[in-house]
């Protein structure tokens, strides 16, 4: 048996040994899989959310129905800032949603649509699912599903339940609180707000927003646990109706003048560094090619301009430049444009 076989066997072994009850049933002949029920029970409670896109940030997400009178729980982000937010139910029916509340710390939003939604998820105050349990993640990653097409299902395992103190420098990506780490690749565009359920169909949590490490360019796959969701919906502290004040863009610069060879597709080569600027302090040089800012790939001048839009003055980010044949990493904080 190759390495994959052993890993899966070990995982199943752990799952069995630690939970006792949940024995993964092998799929025999024409029997439905052991997760078939969980998927078919959950699909009617899934929604697709469409809003405004901003630059590289996508304008769509997934959501779950949490009450019989049209309350929808999703992640929060720039897609809610546009003129209209559209929610598409599992039967394809489209509704305009109003935003009841949004929260920056938990990155959650509560929406309301004018519709009866008899199939909804119960939000447990207790922890649902333990380390080693199978989970199914349902989401509309990459908006593959259109209209009444069912959202996508992924299989994984709960790796860990833990808390996160992360405070990253790009807006909309801060998350602070408890989370459930899973090994299904849920960190994809449009997946946040999706449901993570047990094979019994119980909600473990919702798929969290993309958290990308600017150091390693790796991501976490996690669910915001149902207890946190319950608190948010039930209306405890630290929730706000207002859109993020930080939405106001700042005009920042690093103090570099880039080569402009006509056309925005050219790589971001530094022509010269302005004296006394953040770039000078970070010891950037002429002919350095900027390849990455805060974990985002900079392929050309257009990418560079876009990246500046989402940075804040005095907030340090990691920049990677190509100097000759070497990759040089610098920590650099932009300043307000004069």
């Amino acid at each position: 048996m190759n390495i994959f076989g052993w890993r899966i066997a070990f995982l199943i072994g752990c799952a069995v040994l630690m939970t006792g009850n949940h024995l993964a049933v092998a799929q025999q002949k024409d029997q439905p899989s052991f997760i078939d029920q969980a998927i078919s029970n959950s699909q009617p409670k899934m929604v697709k959310v469409f809003g405004a896109s901003a630059g590289k940030v996508e304008g769509f997400a997934t959501g779950i129905v949490v009450s019989k009178d049209g309350l929808i729980l999703s992640s929060q982000g720039v897609f809610l800032d546009g003129r209209q937010v559209k929610v598409v139910l599992s039967d394809g029916a489209e509704h305009i949603a109003t935003i009841l509340k949004r929260d920056r710390e938990t990155q959650l939003s509560l929406l309301k649509i004018q519709a009866n939604t008899p199939r909804f998820f119960e939000l447990s105050t207790e922890a649902v699912g333990e380390k080693g349990d199978w989970v199914i993640a349902l989401s509309n990653a990459f908006k593959v599903a259109d209209k009444d097409e069912p959202v996508s299902a992924m299989l994984g395992v709960i790796s860990l339940r833990t808390t996160m103190e992360a405070r990253l420098t790009k807006r909309d990506v801060a998350y602070r609180g408890e989370l459930v780490l899973i090994d299904a690749i849920t960190s994809n565009p449009g997946a946040s707000g999706g449901a993570v359920v047990t094979p019994n169909g119980k909600l473990v949590g919702i798929v969290g927003k993309i958290i990308n490490s600017s150091e390693t360019n790796t991501r976490l796959n996690y669910a915001v646990p149902s207890s946190v969701l319950h608190e948010f919906v039930a209306g405890k502290a630290s929730v706000t109706n207002e859109p993020q004040p930080v939405m106001e863009r700042q005009d920042v610069e690093f103090g570099v003048v880039l080569f402009k060879l006509g056309g925005r597709n050219n790589p971001a080569y530094i022509d010269r560094v302005v004296r006394g600027s953040p770039a000078a302090k970070a010891k950037l040089k002429s002919d350095d090619m900027i390849v990455s800012i805060a974990g985002e790939k900079i392929g050309n001048l257009k990418d560079y301009a876009e990246s500046l839009k989402s940075l804040r003055a005095e907030e340090e980010v990691l920049m990677i430049v190509k100097r000759g044949v070497e990759m040089v990493r610098v920590r650099i904080a932009p300043r307000l444009k004069k």
Binding site: L23, D146, E149, S152
Partner: protein, 611 residues
């Protein structure tokens, strides 16, 4: 039982108890029963079995220089391999394929479908290859286990494929194409089994030992071209529609009705229509509602788009439409093809490059690919290769009816019915040496047809005349018998001329190979052979024949109710059908049959007296 099995079954549980009881925090309870551990072990074995059943049929595809990376799967023991079109675009028209036995075998390209990213290559070097059959992709459900196998990142050192396991994440998914009408994945299967560069062209298996798809695409965005949990496979049922066209050595186009449909107020209506399109001539109008397409109820326009992606050019598509006045109409028409952009021939850089052997090879390969993509879509590029496959299919037909088992004569007797009413009777004798006799009584008149192995004879009202092949074929009673009896010949259908696979078609509701048999003089005759039986298992059987491709002038014959007659299987129900809708005009249903060890020679020779 292997040492491993013994270990898991017997020693392991006891060892576990000893090791874990004092201190290990990882495993909690001691109420973990032996039964539970055995169940886990059984699940592991089940999964390992499912993998071992199919792993030998996976191919690591390389170019002629054993470079590059793609995958494929052997779906027939004769060495027919499925892969992606974009894999052969990279590899060329021939190369090497590695199997799990560690060996490399040569392959060459047979036919390709750029529209749906599918190609067939032929493996050489063995008479029997390990193969895995295609399953029914319509039975696949979200949540089913999905095994992907192939050569991602060209990791293999010993040609054994990499196995990745996941679940089916979505079915009937759509991924738009690239270029002009190319690489569209319609009605495809979405999986979270890792699909990475190198997996392309490789199989997606279920746990029942069947190929349910060919992996070829994934959703990629910011993370580069590596798996992020969304992979896509061309569905097995789409593949079945293209196999005959590909074996025919064609460059295949995808179907278009030259009409589009949109969602309007909860209905799916025709929103664009080319007036010259066959479907318009057949009665479709702007504003008409599409109710059923290819047997599926159409709920939205997306569904139609998905379904038509799975069909090749020329496919006889069935639509049920509702006109503005409320009346419903069934339309069956052959589709046009969606064209590909002709490749631009990049001229060589002249003398210097022609000298360099590396560059020369590269240039040659470019030329081959350009020639391939410049071929006239639908043309049979290599008739000899095509003929080879045609002969093999006919051999399979002989095997499926057990034609070479013994010598004797089958005698069938039955009624001729029109609209359910008896119009006459028919007796048919089919000899194992290929000779034939039919006694047909219609409206009280007896007509006798005979084939004595050389010539065709008709006896009517006491007069015996010799018929040409054409004349024999145009008499329905004679034509059916000649077709049925053909299976007994050394080379079936040889009396009708030279065989070729004409392309993919549908006959009697199922996937079929359409054959074209061309005589040295006169018109061609068409025969359709089934690819699968009702259960979906591969089975070649004669299902239809006609002098006309759409069974219009003169109609066609269908063959059904295959029954054991002595040592062989014969169709006891033949129908005269008209048009692509195969509407039934006449039927012959044989109620009695027998196998005779021998008969008098005068049965098949002329000068026989009619009553």
């Amino acid at each position: 039982m292997s040492k491993q099995h013994v270990g898991i079954r017997f020693v392991f549980p006891w060892l576990m108890c000893i090791l874990i009881s004092p201190c290990c925090q990882l495993i909690a309870d001691d109420d973990l029963s032996l039964e539970d551990r055995q169940r886990v072990a059984a699940i592991e074995r089940y999964r390992i079995q499912a993998i071992n059943r199919v792993i030998q049929s996976v191919v690591a595809i390389y170019d002629e220089d054993r470079q590059g990376g793609g995958s494929g799967v052997i779906i027939d023991p004769s060495g027919i391999v499925l892969t992606n079109h974009h894999v052969i675009m990279g590899a060329g028209v021939k190369g090497w394929g590695g199997l799990a036995d560690g060996k490399l075998y040569r392959w060459k390209l047979i036919g390709t479908d750029p529209g749906g990213d599918l190609a067939i290559i032929q493996l050489e070097g063995k008479s029997v290859f390990p193969a895995t059959p295609l399953g029914d992709s319509d039975k696949v459900r979200v949540g089913d286990w999905a095994l992907a196998m192939g050569n991602p990142f060209i990791l293999t050192e010993d040609q054994a494929p990499t196995v990745t396991l996941g679940i089916v994440s979505g079915v009937k998914r759509y991924q738009p194409g690239a270029g002009q009408n190319q690489l569209v994945y319609g009605n495809c299967i979405q999986v979270d089994s890792s699909i990475n560069p190198g997996n392309s062209g490789g199989p997606l298996f279920n746990f029942k030992g069947e190929v349910i798809g060919i992996n070829g695409r994934g959703s990629f965005k910011e993370r580069g071209r590596v798996n992020v949990g969304l992979g896509y496979a061309i569905s097995a049922n789409q593949i079945k529609n293209f196999i005959p066209d590909l074996l025919a050595t064609k460059l295949v186009e995808h179907a278009t009705l030259d009409a589009s449909f949109s969602d309007r107020g909860g209905k799916v209506v025709c929103s664009q229509l080319n007036r010259d399109a066959p479907v318009a001539t057949a009665g479709l109008d702007l504003g008409d509602e599409l109710l059923v397409f290819e047997g599926e109820k159409v709920k939205n326009a997306n569904q139609f788009t998905n379904l038509i992606c799975t069909l090749p050019e020329d496919w006889p598509t069935e639509l049920l439409i509702r006109k503005q006045d409320g009346t419903e109409h069934q339309i069956v028409v052959r589709t046009f093809g969606l064209p590909y952009a002709k490749p631009r021939v990049r001229g060589g850089q002249g003398g210097k490059d022609e000298e360099d052997p590396e560059k020369k090879k590269k240039l040659e390969r470019q030329r081959q690919m350009v020639a391939l993509l410049s071929a006239n879509p639908g043309d049979i590029r290599y008739p000899e290769i095509n003929r080879g496959y045609a002969q093999r299919i006919l051999e399979r037909w002989k095997e499926s009816v057990n034609a070479d088992s013994s010598t004797g004569v089958a005698k069938l007797s039955g009624e001729i019915l029109e609209g359910g009413k008896a119009q006459g009777t028919q007796e048919t004798w089919l000899a194992s040496d290929g000779r034939i006799r039919v006694n047909q009584v219609m409206d009280g008149l007896l007509v006798v047809y005979q084939y004595d192995g050389n010539s065709f004879w008709q006896t009517k009202a006491g007069e015996t005349t010799e018929l040409s092949l054409q004349e024999a074929q145009s008499r329905w009673g004679f034509e059916q018998a000649l077709m049925m009896g053909s299976v007994f010949r050394q080379k079936p259908l040889d009396i009708f001329g030279q065989v070729l696979i004409d392309g993919s078609d549908k006959a009697m509701g199922g996937n079929a190979y359409r054959f074209k048999v061309v005589p040295s003089e006169g018109d061609a005759v068409y025969c359709w052979f089934s690819m699968f039986d009702l259960k979906g298992k591969p089975k070649v059987s004669l299902v239809k024949s006609s002098l006309e491709r759409d069974c219009l002038i003169g109609g066609g014959s269908t063959f059904a109710s295959w029954t054991q007659v002595g040592p062989v299987q014969l169709p006891l129900k033949r129908q005269k059908v008209l048009g692509l809708e195969e509407s039934i005009e006449l039927q012959v249903i044989d109620s009695s049959f027998e196998w005779l060890e021998s008969v008098g020679d005068d049965l098949f020779s002329t000068n026989v007296q009619t009553k």
